[in-house]
């Protein structure tokens, strides 16, 4: 490492500290302050530490709603991401491997899925007709429908890098289509799958608007909706609000720490070559 690289690193670190880290420090300070002190918004060292009591109060609030929310959000995220991986890879696979007139139609769908803002009220109308409104599995399917386009694109470009010889070797080995896909192709998609899991699980876990509409009801509360608990129209309990933000950030943080190294690899292989 040259001295230039070291000095640039130190300057970059200082800048990153001010721009990217301080806001999180602020969130943390707010989260541990007393209610009155938090309401002042000042970026100061907490005069009294209420970490544990604030934490307990947030967790216990509304009859342990946060725990229920973690549970619901986890089910929705895991379910939707699992389906997105399988469905997205299957579509991306056929799209890349089998050129035909249908592909134009599929691409049109993908492009729409990326661009078109979902029509909320007609969607509620459809969900109701199917008996899926206000259900966790309905929510999972909504997240799948909204996330498909991105998954398909990511997989399609990655599958383009897998030599067709592998499919053909499997065909000659007597593999049926599903066996080629699940035993040969799917295991090879691991790097891009990791990227997809990371991106989609964070998007779904952090989704606020969709559960707000498609998943009303106390028993269906999701993590982001718990932020509503403390941001009432009339009175704001900022210390609890910020503690809630802090708690809500933890699961994505865990995902990030686990997959950090593999993100760039997946992006290199997938998203960019599109």
């Amino acid at each position: 490492m040259t001295s230039r690289q070291r000095n640039t690193g130190i300057i970059a670190f200082l800048a990153a500290f001010i721009i990217f880290i301080l806001p999180f420090v602020f969130t943390f300070f707010m989260a541990v302050k007393s209610r009155q002190e938090a309401a002042l918004f000042l970026f100061t060292w907490p005069s009294e530490w209420h970490f544990w009591s604030n934490l307990v109060e947030v967790v216990q609030a509304r009859n342990y709603m946060l725990l229920l929310a973690y549970f619901n959000s986890t089910i929705i995220t895991v379910g939707a991401v699992a389906l997105l991986v399988i469905f997205g890879a299957m579509v991306g696979y056929v799209l890349q491997r089998r050129p035909s007139g249908w592909n134009k139609l599929i691409y049109a769908g993908v492009l729409m899925g990326l661009m078109v803002p979902p029509a909320v009220v007609p969607t509620i109308w459809v969900l109701q007709g199917l008996g899926l409104f206000k259900t966790i599995h309905g929510m999972i399917l909504i997240q799948v429908a909204y996330g498909l386009a991105f998954s398909v694109l990511l997989y399609r470009s990655f599958i383009a890098t897998i030599p067709r010889d592998l499919d053909e070797a499997a065909i000659i080995d007597g593999a049926k289509p599903w066996a080629i896909f699940f035993k040969v192709i799917l295991p090879l998609l691991k790097p891009v799958t990791v990227t997809l899991i990371l991106v989609q699980s964070i998007a779904i876990f952090n989704d606020f608007t969709n559960p707000l509409y498609y998943l009303p009801g106390r028993e269906n509360v999701t993590v982001q909706l718990t932020l509503f608990n403390f941001q009432s129209q009339f009175q704001s309990q900022f210390n609890l609000l910020f503690m809630n933000i802090l708690l809500v950030t933890i699961p994505p943080l865990i995902v990030f720490v686990i997959f950090n190294r593999q993100i760039v690899a997946g992006m290199t292989a997938g998203a960019v070559k599109g």
Binding site: A12, I21, F26, F43, I142, P177, I263, V264, G274
Partner: protein, 288 residues
Amino acid sequence: MTAKRRSPYPYWFVLPAAVVFTVLFLVPTIASFWFSMTRWDLFQTEFIGWDNYRQFFKEPFLVQGLTNTLIYAVVTSGAKTILGLLLAVLLTSGILWQGFLRSVVFFPVLVSTIGVGITFAALMHPTKGAINIALSYVGIDGPSWLSDPTLALYSVAFIDIWKGVGLATLIYIAGLAAISPEYYEAARIDGATRSQQFWRVTVPLVQPATVTVVTLSLIGGLRSFDIIWATTKGGPGFASDVLASVIYKQYQAGFYGLATAGNVILFLLIAIIILPLTWWFNKREVDL
């Protein structure tokens, strides 16, 4: 002739995804064209033709909302593209703590948008916010970031950039990794300076990543809603209203037909901007 053999890439692979997508995305989208022509209060619908569209274009703030949408999308996607590339170059140049800095830059992408909005609303508070207090130490009387009508939109855009630049950086880091070091070695042997290497090698060769970043951030910017809603709710007044927030307000007010018409308009706006752009990018890529 024997029967045609089945392809190893059967179309039923597409079926599960197609069913979910069609039922929960396409059908509502298509239905929205019908509902946008009705007066609809969720209880009854009454067909009123183009009235909702006429009403929408009569909205005194639509024109402003439209310009705001474009400004917001261009500012955020432009900044994410430029800053993303510069950060990616910096974070692949082997500087001290490079891995850690990459994580730091990417981390805001993970945080809940609502949480970021609430945090920055506090930091940008005109009198108590940390930003203005810091500015006052250097003798600057900081403005009211989120409630000054001339500034609010840009302040929200800043928050959006802060939150999103990590993703752009990551895509660029991936794009840079795909460039063979031999190009730089050849350029150095040819005597190219650092800035020449950047402009003549990096920028053209990283174009696929640029396409991804520009397209994604532009679509995101045009559709952007939650960060605006979490900070200014389109205010003060209508100063930071974008199309998505105008639509949302119609929706909240119970004007479902009108809101759905707005949805259709936003859809068309995005199509008008993105389709020619992707077409142009694709054409250029063939040229390369």
